[in-house]
């Protein structure tokens, strides 16, 4: 279980994350939404150690991870994918997966053996199959399509066997059809892998269709949390996030 307790972070006078307290149950799928500048990415950056919180706790199964470095947090089981696919352009898909498993097995510093290590192959293969990248194994990451690069980014997080997977806008920069394919993939991964998934998403149709739980952030604070139906009807959310123009459309 991932518990966020009174998490705060300010940049100068701006409170990017303001006293956020949230629980993510094991095996839950939660969408984090909010207007631009709501502090969604900062929230992810705090959980994964990219930023150090000013105050608060990040408890993963009771262990406080606040203020630890990204490698430490990853090793405790919180993986993440990025808004802009963060990959290793010169490595092939297969090399990327094998090297990531190597890192997860604490063998990233091994000098006396040859890459790839035999014991990394199965997990790498499994992750490539899961994300549908197996037939592109020998392509260098730089030559993949945008969608495949996003999948590779997710595969990089998933291959580490995380307990919690944070996806920062998995559908960013994709066309409508590709978005749906991607989000179906996310849902499928969540169902088959039985892990906790938290994702940031802008497309409301997607959010309301697939997320059982929704968290709405605004100016660094939690505006609302709950099931899609409740969020859909929440006046404060409609006012602050969707605006009155969308009111009619979203409540129909």
């Amino acid at each position: 279980m991932l518990e966020i307790r009174s998490l705060s972070k300010s940049f100068g006078g701006v409170k990017a994350t303001d006293n956020v307290t949230l629980d993510f149950a094991d095996g839950s799928l939660t969408a984090v939404i909010g207007p631009n500048g709501a502090g969604k990415s900062t929230f992810f950056n705090l959980i994964t150690g990219a930023l150090t919180p000013d105050a608060g706790q990040i408890l993963l199964n009771g262990l406080d991870l606040a203020g630890r470095t990204p490698p430490e947090i990853v090793r405790h089981g919180i993986g993440r994918a990025f808004q802009v696919a963060s990959i290793f352009p010169s490595l092939t898909v297969q090399e990327t997966m094998l090297a990531a498993v190597c890192a997860d097995q604490r063998k990233a510093s091994v000098l006396h053996r040859r890459f790839p290590l035999a014991e990394t192959r199965d997990r790498a293969e499994h992750a490539m199959e899961l994300l549908g990248l197996a037939n592109k194994r020998n392509r260098t990451a730089a030559t993949l399509s945008h969608g495949d690069q996003k999948l590779l980014d997710i595969a990089l997080a998933l291959v580490l066997d995380p307990k919690v997977l944070l996806l920062d806008e998995p559908t960013a920069g994709m066309g409508t059809e590709e978005r749906w394919r991607m989000i179906e993939k996310v849902r499928e991964l969540w169902e088959t892998q039985k892990i906790t998934v938290v994702f940031i998403e802008h497309d409301m149709d997607i959010v309301f269709k697939i997320a059982p739980e929704i968290v709405v952030l605004c100016y660094g604070r939690i505006l609302a949390t709950g099931k899609p139906d409740a969020i859909r009807r929440n006046e404060a959310v409609i006012e602050a996030y969707l605006g009155t123009e969308h009111h009619a459309g979203i409540t129909v």
Binding site: A50, S109, R121, D122
Partner: protein, 340 residues
């Protein structure tokens, strides 16, 4: 055991068998190259050729170790030459002042290099890009200035004078040119073999990940600072070995060995040969030394000619020689973006 487990077990065995075969193949290639180099004097009796190969060994180890930083890790060091100088001075001084056997001085010099590289590396590898480049350069100038000003120990701008004693050990007499030649070839081949092992190891792939995207590497659990420091120190050890060969070759050590121009030559060699292949710097070394020797013989303005060649490679070709060879080879096999 289920069928799946049996299949996975067989796959794992296959991979480890493949790795072993490749390792044995690399060792055989290294051995063959060494035998070929060692037999060279039997075919060509030219002393100039032997001298040339010894210099190639010294600069080749230095330049290839620089490529571990520049090409594999993306750490552009402008001060790598300080370890070349440290090797030459460390070894020369040890032999002059203490009179220990050559192997002891060799190991002790590497130990000193290890400590110095660890301290300098711990400070430098935290820095990014241009800051890393300039702080390494600053450390190089610090060591160069120390050599120049500590006249009682280093001989200042005159260098270590009076020759380096090279007492024979285990039947090897390094004051004999042929013995020195064979020893240099052995050090070169062993050094290249070890560096190739590093590049092909899981750690080598960790370095590639850091070069491509250090932030992402840290988000898959890699301690980037530690990995960078490790390769900084390892590269320093090989550069130092190059310096030791140079000290043995000239029977002395000179401040130029620790000057920034050595680092500059290292970078130039890498540009000439290419940083995307393991052997690029070695090819670059041979090219630069041939170029240097030819141009120096033909004109007093060799700096001008070398400068034009540098510009031609940097602005005109934008790649090293081996990069073109690899590209040509890849295009011949397939041109559709697949790498294997």
């Amino acid at each position: 055991m289920t069928e799946l487990q049996a299949e996975q077990g067989a796959q794992a065995l296959e991979v480890s068998h493949e790795a072993k075969t490749r390792r044995n193949r690399d060792a055989l290639i290294a051995l063959a190259v060494f035998v070929l180099l060692a037999l060279l004097p039997a075919v060509f009796s030219s002393k100039l050729l032997l001298d040339f190969v010894i210099r190639c060994a010294a600069y080749g180890l230095f330049a290839t170790s620089l490529n571990l930083l520049v090409g594999y890790t993306g750490l552009i060091s402008f001060g790598h030459g300080m370890f070349f100088g440290l090797g030459a001075y460390g070894f020369g001084l040890m032999m002059q002042k203490t009179g220990v056997p050559v192997p002891v001085a060799f190991v002790a010099t590497l130990a000193i290099t290890f400590v110095v590289a660890l301290v300098i590396g711990a400070i430098c590898v935290r820095l990014k890009e241009i800051y890393f480049a300039f702080v390494t350069l600053a450390f190089q100038m610090l060591i160069h200035s120390t050599i120049l000003s500590w006249v009682s120990l280093t001989g200042g701008d005159q260098g270590l004078r009076g020759g380096i004693p090279r007492p024979p050990f285990l039947g090897i007499d390094l004051s004999n040119q042929l013995h020195l030649y064979v020893a240099s070839c052995a050090l070169l081949v062993i050094g290249l073999f070890l560096m190739h092992r590093i590049a092909q190891s899981p750690f080598g792939y960790t370095l590639r990940m850091i070069r491509d995207n250090a932030t992402r590497a840290s988000f898959i659990g890699i301690d980037v600072w530690r990995a960078k420091l490790t390769i900084f120190v390892l590269a320093a050890l090989f550069a130092s070995t190059g310096g030791i060969i140079m000290a043995l070759f000239v029977s002395g050590a000179y401040p130029e060995f620790a000057y920034w121009t050595i680092s500059g030559e290292g970078i130039f060699i890498n540009m000439l040969g290419g940083v995307t292949t393991f052997l690029g710097p070695m090819v670059g070394t041979v090219l630069l030394l041939i170029l240097n020797d030819t141009v120096t013989r033909l004109t007093d303005y060799h700096g001008l000619v070398l400068g034009i060649v540098i510009l031609f490679f940097a602005i005109g070709l934008r790649k090293g020689l081996m990069d073109f060879v690899v590209e040509w080879y890849a295009q011949r096999r397939n041109g559709d973006g697949e790498r294997r």
